[in-house]
Amino acid sequence: MKSKIFVFLTVFVLCFNFLFSGLCSAENDEFVIGVDVNVPPMGFLGENGDVVGLDIDLAREVCKVMGKKLKVQPIDWDAKELELNTNKIDAIWNGMSYTPERDQNMLLTSAYMQNRQVLVVKKDANISNLDDLKQKNICGQKGSTGITSLKNSAVGKNAKTITELDNMVDCLNEVRLGKSEATVVDEVVVRYYFTKNSLQNDFKILDQELETEDYVIAVRKDNLELKNKIEKALKVVVEDGRAGEISKKWVGSNVITFSAIKEKESAMDNKNVNVFSELFQGLLVTLKLFAICWVMSIPLGLILCFLRRVRLKFVKIIIDVYIWIMRGTPLLLQIFFLFYGLPLMFPNLQMNDRFLVGVIAFVLNYVAYFAEIFRGGIKNVDKGQFESIKVLKIPKIKAMFRIIIPQMLRVCLPSICNESVALVKDTALIFSVGVIELLTTAKNLVNTNADILAYIIAAGIYLLICSLVNLIFKIWENKLKFE
């Protein structure tokens, strides 16, 4: 017995050790950069699982100059401001474009490179500048920055047709096959692609761009010292040619043109986002989702529970397997499966209404839980009740609604209440298919304002809803006492 306690204590202490060592990891000679690992060639997962890329190489050289050790931390791009402002990372360095909002929330370095939206044509094409593209067919990637700036530009307005394709490779193939004369692409990305696949001799990039983005590095607002250090080190790396080498390695030419002179006009129209009205919009979505799911899951759960009692064995088996799967797999996985998986399996089954997909996934999941709760409830109804109903020849449906269900509910209400409160909180999972509800709204607000207030308000709102649900169930329980 004593040895068991000893083992337990040892494990306990070890766990604590582990926790605290995790908490206090910010060593002083480390320089931690946050990176979204899906941005080739700036930062992405290499063949052996390490994060590699132009930015990573550049940051490593800058670290050498600063005398620090580089640590690359993969982050959720949507939470980058938060990662920074809570000291989890020291800098964001990941092909991040300058925007006035970012300039307000973080301290930005001068631009260390420009990424341009450029037009690519066949090497031997008789096109050398943007004017030559009049009445030509141009393509671009659906939803990209490039296609947007193309549509807004004179080039786009004078084009014969604009075709939107799924990805850059398809766009280049269009041009190669002559279906389009030109395609609009991201310069850094296309240069990386050309270098990687040795296509420099098949295509050419027109000199004039449609739009230019400045890539900057961000540090915490109060960390002027670090910003200056980075800029100084960057200058060294650019001037001694190391930056050029790195750039050539990744994109075949030197696109790093750091100059500390460039002054940005910080004068942005102070878009004062109203935290309350935005959260209210999110709240409406959350409430709508909760109400619809709740109202649908409970009756369906009841129906499933009664269907299970029908004397057909295979119906019972099907329902049991269904409940087993729904209760044994993560709700998030079910949502993903419905939204991304089903359309892959059945291409005709394109469900594009994200909210609807969310509702279906939630209802399918919660029906299983409610059915299981009701199953427990119906077991608790005395056998004598069913015998009375039979002997007194009370019609089945009437007996179900007037006798069985009320008695079941009395037993089940606490569990239904728990499940309903869980549903309130689970609604947040619908963010995974891109529906913005209360929690996601709060998260976005916290990120853009770099202020925790929205989280606190959201927490308060969730608490309020859950308490309200609890209260309603307490009242309902009292009504079902039958005394």
């Binding site: 015998e387 009370i394 007037r402 008695q407």
Partner: protein, 208 residues
Amino acid sequence: MDIINAINIGKKFGNNTVFDNLNFKVKKGEVVTVVGPSGKGKSTLLRCLIGLENIDSGTIEIDGKILVKDGIYVNSKKQSEILSEVGMVFQNYNLFPNLTVRQNLEIVNNDSKKIDMLLKRFGLYDRKDAYPANISGGQKQRLAIIRAMMLNPKIIFFDEPTSALDKDNRGEIVKLINELNAEKYTIVIVTHDKQFVDCLDSIIYDMT
């Protein structure tokens, strides 16, 4: 004339033969008490006669109509029709706890005149809006009796009517049964309470 006629009936639960080749007859207007130690199959007999259990062999006729012949039942619609002649007061009454006294009757037969009349006659009228949990044992039993009467049966079964009552209430149930019998109800009572049987003027059917 026999209102209940069970001939050579047999009932098994798995390997457990409760009874075999049992004959049980009740004449119209009789009070019959089925006695014997517990576990002998008295309740099972009642349950077979009212269709809550199916017999394995034999024939049952109720009021001259065949419910089951040589172990083969008539269709469920006919069964239901035949069995509407029989009401039952369960051992623990099986009232509907979520319904008030009055609702317990309405759900069977929404004849409000009859309900009011019976509630008044059995002294339950001022408790008509109470839930079963809030009335006394004797009141519960009377409610169960009224409920059994709602479908106008000719026969009423009682399973152990004295088991949930204290000794002082025994006189009351004897009085009630005699009253019902005076109204031409045929009554079958299952009990292992010998003193109770002594108080009744009944035909005794011993299952020992």
